[in-house]
């Protein structure tokens, strides 16, 4: 225990510096804002002076008004994309290689609209990471998984059959639910789980081959999906900082979905005055695999097929958007009890406040409940809890007429973050219409969970520069 030398001097010091400081600081903040008002007001000129500003507008401050806007001609084919260079640096001094990523990436998108309400779209990504070549400790299979990558993210064709019926075929992404951070009813697409919390939810979905049919009437939209693809989530390869296991994972058994064994999903969503609601049903592969022993006693890895029934509700109150989601899951499987199937109920509550100018603050909390997790099974399922709470706070703010974008995300595993926490902050600057710079960092804090014990030292900072291009007119 550290006790100050003198209670009296301690007290004096505390009150003399802390509390008055707080009070005076508060007044200074108020004063600064109001003083700015006062000075600005004092600087106002009268009405005639204000009117004169119109006469000088075209020449003031060196701003030249463009004579006319660039021409914009509709094209039946449009090719566009981006080139980017990014780097990720490990901040842990004990890291074997500080450079985690030095990647060049090309994204190419093509949109073809031949007429008759047919639409074709493709989105392809190719990347090359130089970090493995420059580093000393990149080992296979991680090395080969990151060194070169070619991914067709989306490739689909869409046709409106009637004014109330759309059909969409091909590799596509279907995003469900209202959450900004968590995926409860959003179970259709597999995910990219290679770098925990490094990317937002919009970037983690992997395209899946599907047939999608949408029917519309009034505020209602009925979506029916047949999932043909057999893509599974992309998990960290052995050698990655985010690889959670001590040994290689067993071989993956083919999934239960494919062209001949499709998964199914459907959603009925309604958008009304002041509120949205949705009902979701799905029979698809779970994102979490489990291990089991096959007939020969060999360990195998498999993504179980689950049934999901979910509800979402979003309601606005002024500047507040309240969100809730609920998903009942059946068919969950865990490695420690592969012979059993479990049921779960995930419940999410969230609030989004957009009352501050150009700012959105979102707080979401989810509780994942597993039924029938009796004591024996809970013991077997190491660290598996009957109720698992996660929460996330997200703040986004735009500055300077949307040319600077700040995003801060803080995640808490466990009700009080006792299972681990992370914080990610990034700033994106629009250098021009086509060039963007991004800088950010992520911190992981250890908690009583296997995940955070493994990734606690994976703090990173990242930079990227991106150039958009368009090849319209081909």
């Amino acid at each position: 225990m550290n006790i100050p030398v003198s209670g009296k001097s301690w007290a004096c010091s505390f009150w003399a510096h802390f509390f008055p400081g707080l009070v005076i600081g508060f007044c200074i903040i108020l004063l600064a804002g109001t003083l700015a008002n006062a000075l600005a007001s004092a600087g106002e000129t009268d009405l005639d002076l204000l009117l004169e500003e119109f006469e000088t507008q075209d020449t003031v401050a060196g701003i030249e008004t463009p004579v006319s806007a660039p021409s914009e001609t509709p094209e039946w084919i449009d090719i566009y994309g981006s080139l980017s260079a990014s780097s990720v640096i490990r901040t842990d001094p004990g890291s074997r290689d500080r450079l985690a990523e030095l990647e060049a990436e090309l994204t190419l998108k093509a949109r073809v609209d031949p007429g008759w309400d047919w639409h074709f779209f493709t989105d392809t990504l190719a990347s090359h990471d130089l970090a493995p070549a420059l580093g000393d400790h990149f080992e296979d299979p991680y090395r080969s998984s990151v060194e070169r990558e070619l991914e067709v993210r989306e490739m689909w064709i869409r046709k409106s059959l009637t004014p109330w019926l759309d059909l969409k075929l091909g590799r596509q992404i279907v995003a469900w639910g209202s959450s900004e951070v968590f995926r409860l009813v959003d179970v259709v697409n597999p995910t990219d789980q290679r770098e925990f919390a490094m990317t937002d939810i919009e970037d983690i979905r992997l395209g899946q081959t599907m047939t999608r049919m949408d029917m519309y009437t009034g505020p209602w939209n009925l979506t029916l999906l047949m999932v043909h693809g057999d893509r599974t989530p992309r998990t960290p390869e052995q050698g990655s900082d985010f690889y959670l296991w001590d040994a290689p994972l067993p071989d993956l058994v083919d999934t239960d979905t494919g062209l001949d064994r499709p998964g199914f999903a459907g959603a009925l969503t309604g958008r009304f005055t002041g509120w949205d609601a949705g009902l979701y049903l799905a029979r698809v592969n779970d994102d979490t695999p489990y291990t089991f022993q096959d007939n020969q006693g060999i360990d195998r890895l498999k993504y179980p097929k689950i049934n999901m029934a979910g509800l979402t509700l979003a309601k606005t109150f002024g500047n507040i958007l309240l969100k809730s989601e609920m998903a009942f899951l059946d068919g969950l499987k865990f490695s420690q009890a592969p012979e059993r199937e479990f049921q779960g109920l995930d419940v999410l509550a969230g609030i989004e406040y957009s009352g501050f100018t150009d700012t959105t603050i979102t707080l979401e909390m989810v509780n994942q409940h597993i039924f029938s997790l009796d004591a024996d099974v809970a013991n077997a399922l190491e660290r598996m809890k009957k109720n698992h709470v996660e929460s996330a706070l997200r703040l986004t703010r735009d500055f300077k007429n949307d040319t600077i974008h700040l995003t801060v995300v803080a995640g808490f595993m466990g009700a009080t973050g006792q299972l681990g926490t992370f914080q990610r902050a990034e700033i994106e600057v629009d250098w021009s219409d086509t060039v963007y710079l991004k800088f950010g960092g992520i911190l992981y804090h250890n908690g009583d969970s296997n995940l955070f014990e493994k990734i606690q030292d994976n703090d990173r900072i990242f930079f990227s520069i991106c150039k958009d291009f368009s090849l319209s007119g081909m």
């Binding site: 006790i3 301690w10 008002n37 806007a69 949408d214 500047n319």
Partner: protein, 1078 residues
């Protein structure tokens, strides 16, 4: 927020009506739940011990428990007997009798020490003897003289059993640390696993309880009673005694406060309402709340402790306020002829939201304690917050059904409205007439209080909590003076090895360190005695050398040391276990100190720690004992309070900001809450009132309570200002409606805290005085300062051109820091003007000008920053009128980064919030946007979302300023002023100047005064043409400026404009957003 309030009001009205319709079921359900909760009340315990101030897992407490387990209790009962005839046969006979009676009658004694059995170590015939000093008991005066000689010459006796001048002798009673432990130790010879059992008991609730401690102290007191007239003075002290008597006072005080609080609240309610229900209902509600909170404590196993004694009267005073607010409105409404149900619905509807908000802020103030390291403070926060929450719930669930049973003759409510109304009107008139004076005076008070804050002194002086005339305090101070102390600081040094003590060098350093500790001093603290095993060794060494004083030294070799300790141990005494462990690896050093303010120990403890760290860098050393617990309590209290002040201030500020919907206004609304607290604490500094744990609570409690009045004020002010647009009138109406219940609740609350002035304990009288004062000051601030603040924020002024005077005014504002919001008022200065019928007619013509039923256009948006960097966006824009509603859909075509982004807006009949959805291609889904704030920039342009929607003319005052020509076309220049702050908040403009072309009623130019940042926004339409016979802007330029400086510019160019093509409704759907427009 207004909509939210309307919905909330409706919710509370509907709820109260439903509860009234199902009143029997409601009452049955609530009382069933209450009795289920209350059935646990009997389990509530009381713990006034020092250890109870810390959480059970606090490191200091764990260390102290470890010490007690090893060396026994250091919580002592100390009896001092003062006489000039101590060394006489009669006195020794009496002392012996008293010693034996105490030993026989006092339970839980572990050890009792006096001159009768003080350890007497001596050598005889090469043998070591350790006997009692009076063994054999003296029978002649010669024997007594011999004892006197030995007693006064033995250094170990000084200030432990006899004072230095031989006039005061003591009886020290050490109670067992753990009765269960002692039983287990007795069984040690029978059971193999007793050690494990003992170990287990030390980690559970095996320690001597407060009740057992009380039994022992009461027994001592009873024995002493018969010795008080024997011709000598007996004093009783020691921490065990002090804690016991403070617990007694606590119980008496709590009962007294509760009775006084009930009595006061009842009398007040009778005076105010003069109705049986007006008294019974609030009393019932707070009683249930109090019992529920106490039951919750019982259920969770949390005992009642010293600081929690304020809980009952606190809940009583706070909880009654909620009922008062609703009852006042209920009776008022009833008087106006409303039915009972309507009156109840009106009262709960009008005050429901405010009661919830005040409940939440008070709870937030209390919950801010919950993280305190001082256990009872944390518990006070938790259960006080729970009590307030219970009061809120019971108010809503019980009050409507109860009131529905009451048969009140209409028109006779007994309210004393007429008596208060003139007073409230006078206050309103004064505060709205002299706002600047009030702000300046407030600031001067604030400044004076700030100067008093550094004078605050922290204190945790349990003994000085008692009045100066209290026997316990007098006795303790007397013992501290004569025997140089009554509490111990214990130092435990771990040599880390078996027989680690048998080291001459270590023992020499230990002896030297003990001497140096004895010599240490601070202005307040000097050690009365320092003793350790080194003294035992010296005593033994001397005895083994023919009792020669020259050999009162430490043995020189390891072997000799081991041998002498072995002899001592085998001489029949068990005293060695008071100084070391069975392995001879631990060393206990005891330091006797006076019982003073815990804060005063800090300097001394730090000196001791520094000395020990320097002398024994190789050892693990722990300082413990009750003194350390006291010190930890105050240190933890200060630390936790600092955090909780920040937490409470932050949380309540956030609530204010969210409730008022504006950071600046919300922050300014905190001023009437903050200033009373600063004033109160500043006053405490000037009056040199010691800041005890209780005084630390004042700020948070007062903030949590005083913010209630501010909420009621702001809540009502917003309501009336929205209706009238006149700040002075709104203040008057606010005080006439909310002022009365604010006064009533303040009086009730103040009374609730002023009853602590009847306490016997000084810290409680200070606490009650300061908290009550803070609440009164908060009401004064809400009656005078809050109106002054809103007056400078919202009052209207005639329009006049600004001149150099404005600059001077700004300068004056700068120097009158207290009038911070005045600066804001300058920005608002031009936002007023009378509505002009001609101007309104022009604007109605503008509004009614036909602009097509639907429209399609291609838009190019150029964004140009101050460095002339340009960004260009291409959009396809669709709009369609649908009755009073307007739909608009925008699809971004380029550049690449925003391509496929789409925005859909449904501008619903102008009184409702709009629906807005955004499709972001990266997100792959349509996202609903909460759209109340329309001041945000639309896609990075100089246009806000408010600029994209129509405005309701009824929300503005219009005045024609002049007539000018714009590009050769005659125009009216019309000033548009928002009628209420809410409109300013919603649309972001404090004022607009519009240029309306006379020939076509099109606004071709406008200047908007932006609320945030004092910017000006210039809108200009350089190209205006008729398309399909509709006047259409083909280009729109928007420039944002600050002073002369251009900050940003947006140019919108439209082409391919088509009107009235019968756009299908499916364009304005979220489906279309996802599909895009290609």
């Amino acid at each position: 927020m207004t909509l939210f309030k309307q919905r909330a009001d409706k919710f509370f009205q509907t709820m109260s009506r439903t509860l009234i319709r199902h009143r029997f079921k409601t009452l049955l359900l609530v009382f069933t739940l209450f009795f289920a909760l209350a059935s646990n009340l009997g389990k509530l315990g009381i713990d006034a011990s020092t250890e109870a101030f810390l959480h059970h897992n606090d490191p200091s407490l764990l260390s102290y428990n470890k010490f007690k387990h090893q060396f026994g209790n250091d919580d002592l009962i100390l009896i001092a007997i003062e006489s000039d005839q101590i060394f006489t046969l009669d006195f020794f006979n009496t002392l012996n009798q008293l010693h034996n009676e105490l030993e026989a009658n006092v339970p839980y004694i572990d050890d009792i020490t006096s001159l009768i059995n003080a350890r007497n170590t001596f050598g005889k015939d090469d043998s070591l003897y350790v006997n009692d000093l009076c063994d054999p008991f003296p029978t002649t005066q010669a024997d007594i003289d011999d004892i006197r000689k030995r007693a006064l010459s033995n250094p170990l006796y000084e200030n432990l059993v006899i004072s230095g001048d031989g006039r005061v002798t003591s009886i020290v009673i050490q109670l067992v640390a753990s009765p269960k432990l002692n039983e287990a130790e007795l069984l040690a010879g029978f059971e193999d696993d007793t050690e494990a059992a003992v170990e287990d008991q030390t980690t559970t609730d095996a320690w001597l309880t407060v009740e057992q401690n009380g039994e022992a102290v009461e027994a001592v007191w009873a024995v002493l009673e018969s010795y008080r007239d024997k011709g000598f003075h007996i004093s009783l002290s020691g921490t065990a005694s002090v804690n016991h008597f403070i617990k007694d006072i606590l119980l008496i005080d709590t009962a007294r406060f509760l009775k006084l609080a009930y009595l006061g609240v009842m009398v007040f309610l009778v005076i105010v309402f003069r109705r049986v229900t007006g008294v019974i209902a609030p009393i019932l509600i707070v009683t249930l709340s109090l019992i529920s909170a106490l039951s919750l404590m019982a259920i969770t196993g949390v005992p009642f402790k010293i600081p929690t004694e304020i809980l009952p009267s606190f809940i009583l005073a706070v909880g009654v306020g909620y009922s008062v607010h609703i009852l006042a409105l209920f009776y008022n409404r009833l008087k106006k002829g409303a039915t009972r149900e309507d009156a109840i619905a009106y009262a709960t509807g009008h005050s429901g939201l405010a009661v919830v908000l005040t409940g939440l802020t008070t709870s937030a103030g209390l919950f801010s304690f919950s993280g305190s390291e001082v256990a009872p403070i944390a518990e006070l926060g938790l259960f006080g917050g729970a009590g307030v929450f219970f009061a809120m719930i019971y108010t809503f669930t019980l009050l409507p059904p109860i009131l529905s049973f009451v048969r009140l003759p209409r028109g006779e409510t007994g309210e004393a409205r007429k008596g208060l109304d003139p007073l409230l009107e006078s206050i309103a008139r004064f505060s709205t007439t002299y706002p600047v004076h009030i702000l300046v005076v407030s600031f001067l008070f604030f400044l004076g209080a700030c100067l008093g804050l550094p004078r605050l002194n922290f204190s945790h002086d349990i003994l000085r909590w008692l009045p100066e005339t209290e026997v316990l305090r007098i006795d303790s101070e007397r013992i501290d003076a004569s025997l140089k102390g009554s509490v111990n600081m214990e130092i435990v040094m771990d040599t880390g090895r078996e027989n680690g003590l048998y080291d001459p060098d270590f023992m020499a350093r230990l002896d030297a360190a003990a001497n140096r500790i004895a010599a240490l001093q601070t202005p307040e603290v000097t050690a009365g005695k320092v003793w350790s095993i080194a003294d035992v060794l010296k005593e033994t060494h001397k005895a083994l050398h023919n009792n020669q004083d020259a050999f009162y030294t430490l043995p020189g070799t390891r072997e000799l040391m081991a041998q002498e300790l072995f002899l001592f141990e085998n001489s029949g005494t068990d005293d060695l276990e008071d100084f070391t462990d069975s392995q001879f690896s631990l060393v206990r050093v005891s330091v006797k100190l006076p019982f003073i303010d815990a804060v005063a120990y800090n300097g001394y403890i730090n000196q001791v720690n520094e000395l020990l760290e320097k002398e024994f860098p190789e050892l693990s050393i722990e300082t413990t004992g009750l003194i350390m617990i006291y010190s930890k309590v105050i240190a933890a209290g200060i630390d936790s309070m600092g955090k909780s002040y920040i937490y409470a201030f932050g949380t309540i500020s956030l609530m204010m900001i969210l409730m008022l919907g504006n950071i600046r206004i919300g922050a300014i609304a905190m001023i009437p809450n903050l200033i009373p607290i600063v004033l109160t604490l500043g006053l405490a500094g000037w009056l040199s009132i010691p800041v005890s744990l209780f005084i630390m609570l004042v700020g948070n409690i007062a903030m949590g309570l005083s913010v209630d009045d501010t909420i009621h004020f702001m809540h009502n002010f917003k309501h009336y200002f929205g209706k009238t647009g006149d700040a002075a009138e709104a203040v008057k109406k606010t005080l006439l409606t909310a002022g009365r219940p604010m006064m009533i609740t303040t009086i009730v609350l103040t009374m609730g805290f002023f009853i602590y002035l009847f306490s016997d304990m000084n810290h409680l009288t200070h606490f009650g005085l300061l908290t009550g004062l803070a609440i009164i000051l908060a009401l004064v601030a809400d009656f005078f300062l809050a109106p002054a603040l809103v007056m400078v924020l919202y009052r209207k002024r005639p329009v006049r051109p600004l001149s150099g005077l404005a600059g001077a005014k700004a300068a004056i504002i700068f120097f009158t820091l207290a009038a911070v919001p005045l600066a804001y008022s300058v920005a608002q200065a031009q936002t007023a003007g009378l509505d002009d019928k001609e101007a309104r007619a022009i604007m109605e013509a503008v509004d009614e000008r036909y602009d097509g039923d639907d429209r399609t256009s291609s838009m190019t948006m150029m964004l140009i920053d101050k460095n002339n960097n340009q960004r260009v966006r291409h959009l396809k824009v669709f709009t369609r009128d649908e009755g009073p509603d307007t739909w608009s859909a925008m699809f971004f075509l380029s550049p690449v980064d925003v391509r496929d982004t789409a925005f859909l807006s449904h501008d619903i009949d102008k009184t409702n919030d709009d629906d807005q959805w955004l499709y972001l291609p990266a997100l792959h889904k349509v996202k609903r946007i909460a759209s109340d704030d329309k001041t945000a920039s639309f896609m990075g342009s100089d246009l806000s979302y408010a600029d994209m929607t129509d405005r309701e003319l009824e929300l503005y005052d219009f005045t024609i300023l002049k007539e000018v020509e714009v590009r050769g076309n005659p125009c009216w220049v019309i000033q548009s002023i928002p009628r209420t702050p809410q409109v300013v908040k919603d649309f972001g403009y404090t004022k607009s100047i519009l240029f309306v072309r006379k020939d076509c009623y099109v606004v071709v130019r406008s200047i908007h005064f932006v609320q945030e940042g004092n910017k000006l926004k210039y809108l200009d339409i350089p190209k205006l043409e008729k398309i399909d016979d509709i006047w259409t802007a083909l280009e729109l330029q928007v420039t944002t400026k600050k002073g002369k400086k251009t900050l940003h510019k947006t140019i919108l160019q439209y082409k391919d404009i088509v009107y009235n093509q019968g756009l299908p409704g499916n364009i304005f759907t979220t489906r279309q957003l996802e599909k895009g427009i290609n």
